[in-house]
């Protein structure tokens, strides 16, 4: 049942490339390594983005390479390139194969299942058309990227760090700079749920190999549609004894029992049958001519298609009708994230931004953005603020749901505003000498003033809301245990589809203090100029001025 050797080699090289590129999704980005190459090759990502986001970022045009290659070679991507397919194969050989029932599934039922993936494709595309992109969680490349980022990467990072600690005495003795190396921070919420999704796909392989790829994968369905027009076809010559060996080894499980034909588009072109055939009767050849057996298409039921389509549309229409965390007050999106509605329709939940995030602040949502926002990125500022000098999340985003901002723009892309809880702040409430928030702020947005109040007279932190970008470094560093005494709220966030984030006000607000005469220790009595002066206007209702 082993896959053809050369196919396995290509699989491993491809998975290795996938890992390397994912590894390069980090700070600093090495230009021009295409860290999101696999996602950009995926025509389902491009098609879905067009349908839901009504846009096609130039990078996604790369999918035409895969479209062209599939028209030529058929679904070779599924057997050779797809990181999820290879992962499932390896896990099958390692785990599920030995527990699989030897009793063969009746061929008819297995063939009947093949059509499910077309329903899945219809559901995904129509939900996208209806404006909800949540079903991208089932795009195989998104799923693989998400799994390796959220589940595998933290474990690997912990392993590397543990190993480095172990050999540190040796490295230190040699004066190696590796003695101070450290991977991460890399810790993620939603690990269990992300793992469960993959575990489900692995468990399904107890029924048959590649259950997901054969029966459920929406990208597989899309590629299968294209593969109907492939040039490279499977040919069986007259020396065939109809021994059925190829039928047994078929990765797609789609060969007819006599070994002569595959339903159109179902062959994964792993070419194991070619190698397995004792007669050498199976060949893959370029031809425009199709055999009769090839032409037998998967019997897609009109009723099933209709149900899937309507289901997708209804699901799509349901998006945006649920109540997210009230007012989304604490839902802080990455800098450069498109306006929320468009962002939700463009983000494919792949987790590439979370892999690249320097401070590990980008975490997957559970229900904070509503059910339809599951696995979309949000900042967890208490865990780590957004680094001022880093803009990698936007640069690795395949669909540009997060804009690729130049550094100067990113420094002004306001994602929220820090608010001090004076009742919990130890400088305000306990007269401590703290001001770590001021120390942590890269934007000159926290200042101290001497205040005399019921707690005493002392230096107290103040947030300058115009200069504050909402990075949350203050929230991360605040020494108050538990929830921070300075917290970033979504208030003031800038969600621009196009154009510049830099405002004159913000530039001015961040300029250093130049007053050589200011008394920094004078007790502060509130702002000098009140924007709503009441002087002499006590008799007037709000909004009115005394006539000059």
């Amino acid at each position: 049942m082993k896959i053809k050797r050369t196919t396995r080699i290509v699989q491993l090289i491809s998975l290795g490339l996938f890992f390397v590129l994912l590894g390069f999704a980090t700070y600093p980005l090495v230009f021009p390594v295409p860290t999101d190459l696999f996602l950009r090759l995926d025509p389902l990502v491009a098609l879905g983005t067009v349908l839901s986001g009504h846009r096609l970022p130039a990078g996604l045009l790369l999918c035409f390479v895969l479209v062209g290659a599939t028209l030529w070679l058929g679904r070779f991507f599924c057997s050779h390139v797809c990181p999820l397919g290879t992962t499932l194969d390896l896990l099958d050989e390692g785990i599920t194969a030995r527990y699989r029932s030897r009793r063969r599934t009746p061929g008819g039922r297995a063939t009947a299942r093949l059509r499910w993936k077309y329903y899945a494709l219809a559901g995904v595309l129509l939900s996208c058309l209806a404006g909800t992109a949540v079903l991208f969680i089932f795009d195989p490349i998104s799923l693989a990227t998400r799994f390796y980022t959220l589940v595998v990467y933290p474990v690997v990072a912990a392993g590397i760090n543990g190993f480095l600690r172990l050999i540190r005495p040796i490295l230190a003795a040699q004066g190696s700079s590796l003695a101070y190396a450290h991977v991460g921070p890399a810790r993620f919420s939603m690990m269990l749920l992300t793992l469960s999704l993959l575990a489900l796909l692995v468990t399904l392989q107890l029924v048959e190999r590649r259950f997901w790829c054969r029966n459920l994968c929406p990208l597989g369905a899309l590629l299968a549609l294209l593969a109907r027009f492939r040039l490279l076809g499977r040919r069986v010559d007259d020396s065939c004894t109809e021994c059925g060996l190829c039928h047994q080894v078929c990765l797609a499980g789609a060969l007819t029992a006599d070994g002569h034909g595959t339903p159109a588009g179902e062959c994964l072109v792993c070419r194991t049958c070619e190698e397995a055939c004792p007669q050498g009767a199976v060949r893959f050849r370029h031809s425009l001519r199709r055999s009769d057996a090839d032409e037998r298409s998967v019997d897609v039921a009109r009723r099933g298609m209709l149900a899937a389509g309507v289901g997708g549309l209804v699901l799509g229409a349901m998006g945006g009708t649920s109540l997210a965390e009230p007012g989304r007050a604490r839902l802080i999106r990455p800098p450069g994230a498109l306006p929320e509605d468009l962002f939700m329709r463009t983000c494919i939940r792949c987790g590439e931004c979370m892999k690249a995030c320097l401070t590990n602040t980008l975490q997957p949502c559970f229900l904070e953005a509503g059910w339809e926002g599951v696995w979309t990125p949000r900042l967890n500022c208490r865990h780590g603020g957004c680094e001022e000098r880093c803009n990698v999340c936007g640069r690795v985003c395949p669909t540009r749901a997060i804009r690729a901002l130049p550094m100067e723009e990113k420094r002004f892309a306001k994602i929220g505003t820090a608010v001090i809880d004076r009742a919990r702040c130890i400088a305000w409430a306990q007269q401590k000498e703290c001001l770590i928030c001021d120390e942590a702020c890269p934007y000159n947005a926290i200042d101290f003033r001497v205040v005399a109040d019921e707690c005493g007279t002392g230096k107290r932190p103040f947030v300058e809301p115009v200069g504050c970008v909402g990075c949350g470094l203050c929230e991360q560093k605040c020494p108050v245990a538990g929830e921070s005494a300075i917290v970033v709220h979504a208030d003031g966030e800038m969600r621009l589809e196009t154009g510049s984030y830099v405002t004159e006000e913000a530039v001015r607000a961040r300029e250093p203090e130049v007053d050589a005469n200011r008394d920094y220790f004078e007790t502060w009595n509130g702002p000098g100029e009140c924007p709503n002066p009441l002087d002499g206007a006590e008799d007037l209702p709000p909004g009115f001025l005394i006539e000059e």
Binding site: Y27, E433, D438, A440, P479, E513, V514
Partner: protein, 326 residues
């Protein structure tokens, strides 16, 4: 010269000596404590050496006045340099130690035959960012035997008792402080919103893992307590410029001072540095800085400038013109 002591043994001795000194202080006689052996302190002619000019020249001159780098670094030593490279700001901002000073100090150590030099800090910002943007990483790149590292991983720290601590009883400090033969403190002169100023004594906080407890407790006393534990053999103050307001992270107003101040007594160096210019538009003395006064009261150094032997004797006139960074 007397025999060499290991860092651990040295710490132990330092603690014992500090205990004696605080005893001495109680009976009314404050002895400045230095982190060198008694024979050297007895023979010392200069408490503080001030060099002027370019960072390299100023550093060289200050070290020469102290008797040369060879007094502090011996061939084969593992030297730990502790600059301030905590932020992601360029050197002109004045929030971090000038990379030219760090580089010059590292080459002095190489010249003295150091086996290995570690330039390290527990940075507030991610290590990659701090190393790159402060310019300290690039400045030391390619120098043989020199490693620059941000120690932002807890496993690099070891819990130690602070026997003389009044507010700080135990803390986790950089393990290499215990391993190094020589610790050289390379602070930058800047203002600090919580502690007034951040000079040499305050710079030692960059060798601690959990700094939050400093702030939730008694910050000034904790800083002084830490100074009873970690005693650099040499301190070299980067006073090429001073961020006189807006510290510790900036941006703030900077003033050119063009000085490098070297010495053994950190409290004295800090006290001298504060006298060089106005801070927050006011004139202060060292004993007005809470953590310096606390350190002096614990016998960790001399805060009164008139009790110090500062070289050269002649008052150096530095350009005090203001310049502001944008």
């Amino acid at each position: 010269m007397t025999h060499r002591v290991s860092r651990r043994e040295f710490l132990k001795r330092g603690i014992e000596a500090a205990a004696l000194a605080s005893l001495a202080a109680e009976v009314g006689r404050i002895d400045p404590l230095f982190a060198v052996e008694p024979s050297e302190t007895a023979a010392r002619a200069v408490d503080l050496a001030v060099g002027t000019g370019s960072p390299e020249a100023a550093l060289r001159k200050a070290l020469d006045l102290l008797g040369g780098i060879g007094k502090f670094v011996k061939p084969g030593d593992f030297v730990l340099l502790k600059p301030n490279m905590s932020f992601g700001t360029p050197p002109e901002m004045g929030a971090t130690t000038n990379p030219d000073v760090v580089r010059a100090m590292a080459s002095e150590c190489i010249g003295a035959g150091a086996k290995r030099i570690l330039v390290a800090d527990h940075t507030i910002r991610p290590g990659k960012v701090s190393l790159e943007y402060t310019g300290i990483g690039p400045a030391c790149a390619g120098m043989e035997r020199v490693t620059v590292a941000a120690l932002n991983d807890e496993s690099q720290y070891e819990e130690v008792e602070v026997p003389l601590g009044k507010a700080l009883k135990k803390t986790d400090i950089v393990r290499d402080v215990l391993r190094a033969d020589v610790l050289i403190n390379l602070p930058v002169a800047k203002s600090h919103s919580a502690t007034g100023v951040s000079f040499a004594v305050k710079n030692l906080m960059g060798l601690v893992w959990d700094r939050k407890v400093f702030h939730t407790g008694d910050l000034d006393q904790s800083i002084a307590d830490l100074a009873t534990l970690i005693r650099p053999q040499l301190t070299v103050m980067d006073a090429t410029q001073a961020m006189v307001q807006g510290g510790p992270s900036g941006p703030g107003r900077t003033v050119r001072l063009d000085r490098i101040i070297a010495g053994i007594d950190q409290v004295a160096i800090d006290s001298y540095t504060i006298s060089l210019t106005k801070w927050y538009n006011r004139t202060f003395t060292g004993s007005q800085v809470k953590h310096l006064r606390a350190a002096a009261e614990m016998g960790l150094g001399e805060v009164e400038l008139d009790k110090l032997n500062i070289a050269p004797d002649t008052e150096i006139s530095g350009g005090d013109e203001d310049q502001t960074n944008h």
